[in-house]
């Protein structure tokens, strides 16, 4: 004890005693860190890696949180992190996670030159006031909102590691620029086209000078200065306005069509070198001055600088600086919670019913996985639900781990052991488990019954139902509902617009999201997560607390809203029992056996029928027990017809008894039978008295006879009709049999046709083996070998000449054979030929022909 504490003290002392070396060590191992401080204060970072290096730990953590894919595997240093952050996949993923406005900011950056100052970016987003009547200013309110939201967007891009550099030199990661910059293949959402430099890349310097001259600019000495001059003209609002003022009628209309994108237009001849003097049409007027530039034989493009000038500098027509509002539809919080709780209770009950339904034999698993449409329909009928609803509950139970395949030879679905645990939970916990499973599940029941791209119908519980977008849409939509005041619902359109803003998606994914949102809202209502469209109080903890804790709190909130289980029912003279609420499990169980369920819901209506009562008697209950059970649990006296029904059934139940006996003993003298029962030698026969004159035995009749005879008795056998069987040794007979087919000595005599074929085959083989080859002069014995090119040439010439060839051929099993063939056709790597050896037309793969040789002239 003392020792330990001394050691601690020593360590502390050591640490505090040598502060210098400790700092020195840090300085030595972290040269980058050292450079970071100097770089941060004195010079701009030159690469993303340097920029990252300059960030503090929190910023790096934020980057990694925003882009978790960068962490797999953990990068060794910041250079690697920066490299990885700049890979195309990662950048695409990062861009996908941005909200609409931040994406717009990134798109705007992508159309500027690298190292764009913040002010330039802001001007691109807000636009400038139009000069000389060119372009249209952004609504001042929107512009103000854009200016207000832009710093946040830039910060987000920086946090995501998509831009770096100082405020006056914002650098978009190169990969992101490549992805976002407009090109002919990937049009930018900005609707801007390529810059003048990009669009004039294929233009001859002479033509460029012509354009320059026509645009009213002085000639320059090289193309790049020409481009700069032209771009400068477009970028200068005053001069551009003046140029445009001269435009003929119709030119503005052409520009107006292209200005907001797509910037490409179709013309008859885009590449003709039109001069200003010869321009006849508005398009030619524009082409001559470089306001439109050729982009292929029949396409022209509006260069980016010109488009921006026409747009009063705006990169986007409609910037979306603020998320669209979700308008609350107010409902009473109490109704919402009550409705949702009612649904929650139904949900728990439906899943319980499903588990009960499947515990005595669930549907078989299809070979491709999932259950068949017929089984789905059957389950739907058993649960009294529609098929889509049933699919939802099935997928929910599956996602919650309550049903699964049993892994037997005839694979079928069955409840899991977890289902047993779940069944024992109180209803509110059961619900919380279901709701949590639903929130996290990627399986999407709404897809059941639709077809995949290959046209196969998607089966419930089957493969291909996972949509990784699903949990995000669920949480997204419910979070939006949670952000509304208590008890407020929202329109589906509003929610969709907001989700779209939060995370713009490509068209296909967006369509899926729209579907997913619809299903989410329906499912949430069915499951009792929402009530009348508003988020229920008991569902909130699931959204914003940690997994287990959230479920606890949700269950605690739900519990008082659920109906209290009852321990009594109301019995009525029309042979029904009504449980005016949920029943305690034991009562429900027994009643479920004793009566048929007629109607389900908040209450349950049971009907007693002779069949249902017999079922209870079959299950081992006695009439007295059943009467006592009903008396105990009924709040009203047991009606007389019901007691009569039970007594009547009990009186008749079991009057007829069925059992199995291997043999029986019949004797008019019951004393003899009594004696036999008492005899110790008969103990192994399994005798039992059925009636005074009848015993049943568990031994087969012949053994029984033998044993009885051995005991000195004289039993006689009886036929099925009760006649005494005369005993004499049986003449044994087989069942009907056919006589054997004779097996002659040696093979059968061949017929003429067979002989003819055989001879032909032999001859052909012989021809192949003995053929005299024209070339090479000395053919190697056995398989001829030729290069593939020779083979092809020889075969093709044989087709023309109609000659037969000798080939070596390896078939699909790898057996090498020699054949004589007469090629008919060569195509697609195959030779179609008459095969003399097989005497039929066959197809040979050229790559399987090992060699080929022309046959010598027929020796005959």
């Amino acid at each position: 004890m003392k020792h330990a504490s001394r050691a601690e003290t020593e360590a502390e002392t050591a640490f505090s005693a040598y502060p210098g070396p400790v700092l020195r060590v840090r300085g030595r191992t972290g040269p980058n860190v050292g450079r970071m401080t100097t770089g941060g204060s004195s010079g701009a970072p030159r690469t993303l890696a340097e920029d990252l290096r300059a960030r503090d730990d929190d910023a790096l953590a934020a980057l990694l949180r925003a882009r978790p894919d960068l962490l797999a595997p953990v990068p060794t240093d910041l250079t690697q992190l920066a490299t990885r952050a700049a890979t195309r996949t990662s950048v695409l993923r990062a861009l996908d996670h941005l909200d609409a406005f931040t994406q717009q900011a990134a798109e705007a950056l992508a159309v500027t030159a690298d190292g764009c100052p913040y002010d330039t970016l802001r001007e691109l987003m807000t636009g400038r006031s139009p000069v000389a009547g060119v372009g249209e200013a952004l609504d001042p309110d929107v512009a103000a909102a854009v200016a207000g939201a832009l710093p946040r967007a830039v910060a987000a891009l920086r946090e995501h590691g998509l831009i770096w550099g100082e405020e006056d030199r914002l650098r978009l990661v190169r990969t992101a620029r490549d992805v976002l910059a407009p090109s002919a293949a990937t049009p930018s959402p900005t609707g801007l086209g390529p810059s003048v430099a990009e669009a004039t890349a294929g233009m001859s310097p002479a033509r460029l000078q012509e354009v320059l001259a026509d645009a009213g600019l002085a000639a320059t000495h090289d193309p790049s200065s020409a481009i700069t001059a032209l771009a400068g003209l477009f970028a200068d609002p005053e001069r551009f306005g003046a140029l445009l003022a001269e435009a003929p009628e119709g030119a503005r209309a052409v520009l107006d069509r292209l200005v907001w994108g797509p910037p490409y237009g179709e013309v008859r001849d885009a590449t003709a070198a039109v001069r200003a003097a010869g321009a006849g049409t508005p398009v030619q007027w524009l082409l001559a001055r470089g306001l439109l530039l050729p982009a292929g034989q029949h396409n022209v493009v509006l260069p980016r600088e010109a488009a921006l000038a026409l747009r009063a500098g705006r990169a986007h027509r409609t910037p979306q600086p603020v998320p669209p509002a979700v308008a609350p539809v107010q409902r009473t919080a109490k109704t919402v919670d009550a409705t949702a709780a009612g649904q929650a209770f139904t949900a728990v009950r439906t899943v319980t019913d499903l588990l009960k339904e499947w515990q005595t034999g669930g549907p078989a698993v299809l070979r491709a996985g999932g259950i068949s449409v017929r089984d789905l329909r059957r389950t739907a009928a058993a649960l009294d639900l529609t098929e889509p609803q049933t699919a939802f509950w099935l997928e929910l139970a599956y996602a919650a781990g309550l049903v699964a395949t049993d892994g037997e030879v005839d694979e079928a679905y069955a409840p899991t052991p977890a289902a047993d645990e779940w069944l024992l939970l109180p209803a509110e916990r059961q619900w919380a488990a279901l709701a949590a499973a639903w929130l996290a599940a990627t399986r999407t029941a709404g897809l059941v019954g639709t077809r995949d791209p290959k046209g196969r119908a998607l089966a419930a519980l089957g493969p291909d139902l996972d949509r990784s977008l699903a949990p995000r849409v669920r949480r997204g939509a419910l979070r939006l509902l949670a952000a509304l005041p208590l008890g407020a619902a929202a329109g589906r359109g509003d929610l969709l617009a907001r989700l779209r803003w939060d995370r713009p998606l490509r068209a296909a994914a967006d369509a899926l999201r729209e579907d997913l949102l619809g299903w989410t809202l329906e499912d949430a209502e069915t499951l009792g997560v929402t009530g009348r469209g508003a988020l229920a109080a008991h569902a909130r903890p699931l959204l914003d607390s940690a997994e287990g804790l959230g479920q606890d709190r949700a269950a605690a909130l739900l519990s008082p809203l659920l109906p209290e289980p009852l321990d009594h029912v109301l019995l009525q003279a029309d042979l029904t029992a009504v449980a005016p609420g949920p029943l305690v499990a034991a009562l429900a169980e027994t009643l479920g056996v004793l009566a048929d369920i007629e109607s389900k819901g908040g209450a349950t209506v049971y009907r007693f029928t002779p069949d249902s009562v017999r079922r209870a008697l079959d299950a081992g209950r006695t009439a007295a027990e059943l009467q006592a059970f009903l008396t105990k649990h009924s709040r009203t006296p047991v009606p007389q017809p019901l007691s009569y029904l039970i007594d009547d059934m009990a009186r008749r139940h079991g009057t007829l008894r069925v059992g199995a006996a291997a043999a029986y003993l019949r004797c008019d003298d019951d004393a003899l039978l009594t004696e036999l029962l008492a005899d110790r030698r008969a103990s192994g026969l399994g005798l039992r008295r059925l009636a005074p004159t009848v015993l049943a035995a568990q031994t087969d009749p012949s053994t029984l006879l033998e044993r009885l005879r051995a005991m000195g008795l004289a039993p006689a056998a009886e036929s099925a009709d009760g006649d005494v069987l005369i005993t004499r040794p049986d003449a044994r007979r087989t069942p009907p049999r056919t006589p054997p087919v004779p097996v002659p000595d040696g093979p059968p005599v061949p017929d003429a046709a067979l002989l003819g074929l055989a001879v032909k085959a032999i001859r052909a083989g012989d021809r192949a083996a003995t053929a005299v080859h024209r070339t090479p002069s000395d053919p190697p014995p056995g398989l001829p070998r030729t290069p593939a090119a020779d083979t092809l040439a020889t075969v093709q010439s044989a087709v023309l000449t109609g000659e037969s060839l000798w080939i070596g051929y390896v078939n699909a099993e790898g057996n090498a054979t020699q054949r004589v063939i007469a090629p008919v056709r060569v195509e697609g790597g195959y030779v179609t030929a008459y095969d003399h050896t097989a005497d039929e037309v066959r197809t040979f793969a050229i790559h399987r022909i090992t060699g080929v040789a022309e046959l010598a002239e027929d020796p005959s």
Binding site: T346, P563, L570, Q572, A573, D574, T576, A603, Q640
Partner: protein, 550 residues
């Protein structure tokens, strides 16, 4: 805790002992059909017909939803509320009305609905030219047909085309020393306000008087359709007694007599008689300008009468019945052709008001002898019911029951004539069956009413509309298999309030462990659901006198 439980299968369970039960019943009765009314929990059902009935009576979906939400103990399933609103919304999108220029037209407030129904092959032959985008002409003769078809398509049309007044004829109630009961008044008002429709009242609750009341409102010539001649005579008798009509003003149109007078009472049978493929008595419908047509026992309305009724849509129609349950399931035809339900009162409620006698229903279970059981077991399947329903043991038990109730007016009702003949012989009582001439029947009924006869054995001719107020005991020995409405009708024979207010007794003698018992259970279902709990008594106890209570 409220008193109503709304089930997802659209049944409503009402706890009758609850303090709010009465208020709740009043709130839901307009749109929900009472399906079962046993002692503790009544079951109502929401059906499209019921909801449309409510719409026809001027209720809207909001009231229905409010009533459900207000009284429901548990949250009402949202899907159900949506469904209610959607179903009710379908009523009234189409309306039939009279257009001064084009005659009968079908108009819509929702164009796609009109487009949808006009695409239907069954609607096309019934409509004429398209007048404008929302209106299409309808052949006046097809007014009933189109209503039937539209209902089947799920878009019931509201009929605003009005009624012809018919030939006026003064009729007034002669309320001397009696008056219409409050519920009868309500029924008449409900009918008259709605124009056409069905009034549902238990047997013995005075449906005839509702008819008379309606006639007094219409003050026009009236055609009354009844099930059989005896019933026709009773209508006549009652009308003469209760209204200003005289014997001469009322005609009988039956197999034996063909009188057409300002008020004509015809039997279903004569109307549906076919000769050489035509219905020769159809002209009756056109023989006068009827202002009102009354259908007695609507639940028995034969199919051809539905067809004729389809052509009578311009006349006011009143249906009277004890139950809308039809064994053939043509409730929707009743709705579209005669009209929506205009008034409904549960049996027990009227009994509680003292207008029908309380009844004690007893099922007497008879143990067959061994010989009878053996014969039953070996009988042909189609003979089984007949055999077990007519066993000697049953007859002996019946005799014992009659003896027990000696001095009380007793009806013995059965299905099989030879059984009845035999019983009549043993009981020394006259038998009324199909072949008994009407004059003889009336004489016997009169003797029974006067107390000169105390036991009467009747076949199924007496199922309907025979007014025997003094019958206090009915013993059913056999029936038309499992017919539920027959059981109700037979019970109805003893439900007329008694002079001394004492309880009626209804026995159903049933052979134990046979098909008879199964049919009995089925027959009793309707009454059990109406709250008439059957007691079960062992015949052995009865014969040995062990049960002194019987």
């Amino acid at each position: 805790m409220s008193c109503l439980i709304v089930q997802s299968d659209k049944t409503l369970l009402l706890e009758v002992d609850h303090e709010l039960a009465d208020a709740c019943r009043r709130a839901i009765a307009p749109f929900a059909e009472l399906e079962r009314a046993p002692e503790h929990i009544h079951t109502y059902r929401l059906t499209p017909l019921g909801l449309w009935n409510a719409r026809a009576a001027g209720h809207d979906a909001e009231q229905v939803v409010d009533a459900l939400v207000e009284y429901s103990r548990y949250p009402v399933p949202h899907a159900l509320l949506v469904d209610v609103a959607e179903t009710m919304d379908r009523y009234g999108r189409l309306r039939l009305s009279k257009d001064p220029a084009h005659g009968l037209v079908l108009t819509t407030t929702d164009r796609p609905v009109l487009e949808e129904i006009l695409r239907s092959k069954r609607v096309q032959p019934l409509v004429g030219a398209r007048i404008d985008q929302d209106t299409v002409a309808v052949h006046p003769s097809e007014r009933g047909q189109i209503k039937q078809v539209l209902l089947k398509l799920g878009w019931p049309a509201e009929d605003f085309a009005g009624y012809v007044d018919g030939e006026a004829h003064p009729i007034a109630l002669a309320e001397d020393g009696w008056a219409l009961r409050p519920y009868q008044k309500q029924a008449v008002e409900g009918f008259w306000h709605g124009g056409s429709g069905v009034v549902v009242l238990p047997c013995g609750a005075g449906k005839t008087l509702v008819g008379a009341g309606a006639m007094a409102e219409a003050k026009a010539t009236t055609l009354i359709l009844v099930t059989n001649t005896v019933s026709a005579r009773q209508w006549k008798h009652e009308l003469v007694k209760r209204t200003s009509l005289t014997e001469e003003e009322i005609g009988e149109y039956s197999g034996t007599r063909k009188e057409i007078r300002p008020v004509t009472i015809a039997t279903y049978q004569v109307l549906t008689t076919r000769r050489k493929g035509v219905y020769p008595h159809l002209e009756l419908f056109d023989s006068r300008d009827w202002g009102l047509i009354v259908y007695d026992e609507v639940h028995l309305l034969p199919a051809p009468v539905f067809k004729f009724t389809a052509d009578l849509q311009a006349r006011r129609r009143l249906g009277l019945t004890a139950t809308l349950v039809r064994e053939d399931g043509r409730e929707s035809d009743v709705f579209s052709l005669i009209g929506p339900k205009r008034f409904d009162a549960p049996w027990k409620e009227i009994e509680a008001q003292g207008y029908i006698a309380p009844a004690d229903c007893v099922e007497v279970r008879v143990n067959l002898t061994d010989a009878e059981r053996l014969a039953y077991a070996t009988a042909e399947t189609e003979e089984k019911y007949r055999y077990c329903a007519t066993t000697d043991t049953k007859r002996r038990v019946t005799e014992a029951l009659v003896a027990k109730h000696a001095g009380e007016q007793t009806l013995v009702i059965g299905q099989y004539i030879d059984q009845l003949d035999e019983l009549g012989e043993h009981l020394n009582a006259p038998v009324i069956k199909g072949e008994t001439p009407n004059s003889q029947r009336e004489k016997l009924f009169e003797a029974f009413r006067q107390g000169e006869l105390s036991v009467l054995v009747v076949s199924k001719v007496a199922n309907f509309s025979i007014d025997l107020p003094e019958a206090t005991v009915a013993i059913q020995v056999s029936g038309t298999f499992g017919s539920r409405q027959e059981e109700a009708q037979r019970l109805g024979r003893v439900l007329r309030p008694k002079a001394d207010g004492h309880e009626a007794r209804f026995y159903s003698v049933v052979a134990r462990d046979t098909i008879d018992q199964d049919f009995a259970a089925h027959r009793q279902r309707f009454l059990a659901e109406q709250g008439y709990a059957y007691r079960i008594v062992d015949a052995d106890d009865l014969l040995t006198g062990a049960d002194e209570d019987i």
